[in-house]
Amino acid sequence: MIRKKILLLGDFSVGKTSLIRRYIDKTFDDSYLTTIGVKISEKELTIDDVDLKLLIWDVEGATKTKKIPLAYFKGASAAIFVADVSRKDTMSSIANHIETFLEVNPNANYVIAYNKSDLLSKEEEASLILPNNSFLSSAKKDENIEILFEILAKEIVTQYKEKGR
């Protein structure tokens, strides 16, 4: 089995915790999130006959008064950036989150989840232009949640196989 660290990043209240709750097997109590700014969850997958355990770090969004240790970012194989489609500020700050993440992990993969898609009207949804590796997701309706993790998992397994193991 191979184990990898994956980060879940984004502003406050974009639905990171709801999103992960839809997906994971085991998790630590939510109180850790409010205490040290990170909550660890676990998900086991089998991709192309390779057993994979994802240790998902749900990192709290930084604020002016509260900073998140950059050490949390270290050693992550991939990240999921989450924004709230009903709040433009959260979408625009995604770029900053990605930049910070790549500074620490320049070779890591990532996907972006534009969450709370259930709040959008059809017109709004149609007019939305999403960048590459981006998905409209809804934790409420359980839409496009698994695919976020599976894309990253597949990428991890591919890299693992390429290494010749």
Binding site: I2, I40, E42, K53, P69, G75
Partner: protein, 629 residues
């Protein structure tokens, strides 16, 4: 204008008529003016009027939202309190005391957290100060105790303290506690991924991978916080509840030991030494680790961790066992001391109780000393009897030997002896009369016994007589009829065989032969008559010779017996003593014929035999009566 001249009375009357109501009002007004004049000079009156107004005005002002009154008052009230505090502190304290205490109490009830925050800087420091002082004093006490203690480990500890620079107290505290490591985790520092882990069998962590990530996150979080707070030291120990994490940061890995308590200096050194050896061996693997746990290094590290964990656990168990042994020895010694103490207390209590009993029963205060397995009674008592009484009381409560060293004053002794003398005399008189009475009783008893003895002797004679009745009769018969031809000493019966009494085939008696047989019968019956009461019957057996027929012979023998019976019945001794009722006849025919040298002596066969039978029942009844008497 012309002036009208009228007299005064008329004018007055006219005034009254015309201005009656006005005059009344005028009078009332005059009275009011007088009252106002009076009140304007009377301060009490003014105060009573103004005060309610002032109160109302002040109240309105204080309640108004934007009133300046509150601001003004607060300044002046503060100034007044400050001045009072300078000039009359005690008075101010007294005045405020009843208000402040309930106010603080109420505030604590309403706003507990706020009050805690307010008082914390003051109380916290005070508590800290005194706790520090108390711990210091405790450490000093322990140090003193260590100084005064004597043991090999003490000197070992002293040397260790000198070398390590750690105080003996800390070493002693470390020695007194044993910590168990129940898990090792090796975690890659950057990723928080678990490289390898080991756990004691009963202490498995449910999901070590998540725990590793979380521990790593916590460590990062705390280190980040510590860095921002200008501390150069890295966090090594995290404690939560009963669990403690000892975290060693080694290059690209965190090595974590999970313990049940904070590790002491020795254990830390041991853990660090072990972690150092792991880093030496696997540091390059730690940095290269990419989450693949199928590689051999992960297995080797796991095995290594398990080996070390078990080794430390065994040592810990051994130490705990040793410490338990010491603990049991200590408990045993404590138990012995406790028992010794209880024993001494019990002895003291018994002694105290005994002295109290002695005092209650004799009114004497004495001392009891326990020396070399015997009790010594010491003190002065009023009399010898009391001394004895005390000795008896003590004897009842102990098995030890008692040495009575109680003394009596000479005066008391003299009185005691006099009293004793009187008592002895009285006792002698009493004893004499008692003895006389006893003597009389005894005499009567002896005479009674003698009488009974005589009676017993008599009974005994009678008894003997009765038992020997048969032999007596036989003996008398033998004496009386010895060498008589009619008497058969073997059977003690009379037999006529030698006399040839009867003629053949008849019961007729030969005249000349009967005299001799009569003499035998008289002698015989003369003896039997004396024992008549024990004789059941006198049997006359008739016989014939063997000639003739059986029936005829029986008839002849029967007639012969009857003939002799008739003869006997007519004998005076029989008649006089009513012996005839005992007489019986029996006929035997030619049975038991008499042969001499193989030839029947027919004359002898024709015979009668006279026998008597003793009544055994009568003898037995007689014996029973005697025994009953």
């Amino acid at each position: 204008m012309k002036k009208i001249n009228t007299n005064n009375s008329e004018l007055e009357q006219l005034k009254k008529l015309l201005l009656e109501s006005e005059l009344k009002k005028l009078e009332e007004l005059e009275k009011k003016i007088d009252l106002i004049k009076f009140e304007s000079y009377d301060q009490d009156s003014i105060l009573s009027k103004i005060t309610p107004l002032f109160d109302r005005l002040l109240l309105d002002s204080l309640q108004a939202k934007y009133s300046k009154t509150t601001g003004i008052l607060s300044v002046y009230v503060a100034q007044i309190i400050a001045r009072s505090s300078d000039h009359n502190k005690e008075e101010l304290s007294k005045s405020l005391q009843p208000i402040i205490s309930p106010a603080i109490k109420k505030e604590i009830e309403d706003n507990r957290d706020g009050m805690v925050d307010t008082f914390y800087p003051i109380i916290g420091n005070i508590v800290s100060k005194y706790v520090t002082q108390a711990i210091k004093e405790l450490m000093e006490t322990i140090n003193k105790n260590i100084e005064s203690g004597l043991s090999i480990s003490k000197y070992k500890r002293k040397v260790k303290a000198k070398i390590s620079g750690v105080s003996e107290t800390e070493l002693l505290l470390e020695e007194s506690h044993s910590t168990t490591i129940y898990s090792f985790l090796v975690i890659q520092k950057d990723t928080g991924l678990l490289i390898a882990d080991a756990h004691l069998d009963n202490k498995k962590i449910e999901d070590p991978h998540m725990v590793a990530s979380m521990a790593s996150a916590m460590k990062d979080f705390i280190n980040d916080w510590v860095d921002n707070n200008t501390s150069s030291q890295e966090v090594q120990i995290l404690s939560y509840g009963d669990a403690t994490l000892y975290i060693e940061s080694a290059g690209s890995a965190y090595i974590i030991a999970f313990l049940d308590d904070e590790p002491d200096r020795t254990l830390r050194r041991e853990i660090n030494k072990y972690f150092g050896s792991l880093v030496d061996a696997y540091s390059s693997f730690f940095s290269k680790f990419d989450g693949d746990d199928s590689v051999d290094e992960v297995k080797y590290i796991s095995q290594n961790l398990y080996a070390q964990l078990n080794k430390l656990y065994k040592v810990d168990k051994k130490e705990k066992k040793n410490s338990n042994t010491l603990k049991y020895i200590f408990m045993f010694i404590t138990f012995l001391l406790l028992m010794y103490g209880l024993n001494i207390s019990y002895k003291w209590y018994r002694k105290h109780q005994l002295l109290e009993e002695i005092y209650t029963k004799t009114s004497q205060k004495i001392i009891i000393n326990n020396e070399n397995n015997h009790l010594t009674l010491i003190g002065q008592v009023d009399s010898i009897s009391k001394s004895h009484k005390i000795e008896n009381i003590v004897k009842r409560s102990t098995k030890l030997d008692i040495k009575n060293n109680l003394s009596i004053s000479l005066k008391n002794l003299d009185n005691t002896l006099k009293a004793k003398d009187i008592m002895i005399n009285n006792k002698i008189d009493f004893t004499q009369s008692q003895h006389l009475k006893e003597y009389k009783d005894l005499k009567e008893e002896i005479s009674d016994i003698l009488n009974r003895l005589k009676n017993l002797e008599k009974s005994n004679d009678r008894f003997k007589n009765i038992i020997n009745i048969r032999s007596k009769i036989y003996s008398k018969l033998d004496d009386s009829l010895k060498n008589n031809i009619c008497y058969e000493s073997k059977t003690h019966s009379l037999n006529s065989k030698e006399l040839n009494l009867f003629t053949a085939s008849s019961s007729n008696l030969k005249d000349n032969k009967m005299n001799l047989f009569q003499d035998c019968l008289e002698r015989y019956l003369d003896i039997i008559v004396d024992y008549k009461e024990y004789v059941s019957k006198i049997v006359i057996e008739g016989y014939s010779d063997s000639s003739g027929k059986l029936k005829e012979n029986i008839d002849i023998s029967s007639n012969r017996a009857k003939k002799i019976k008739l003869f006997i019945e007519n004998m005076p001794i029989v008649k006089d003593n009513n012996l005839n009722e005992l007489l019986r006849t029996e006929a035997y025919g030619s049975a038991n014929s008499i042969f001499i040298d193989g030839k029947e002596d027919k004359n002898a066969s024709r015979r009668v035999e006279v026998k008597f039978k003793i009544d055994s029942k009568k003898i037995l009844n007689k014996l029973k009566r005697i025994i009953g008497d």
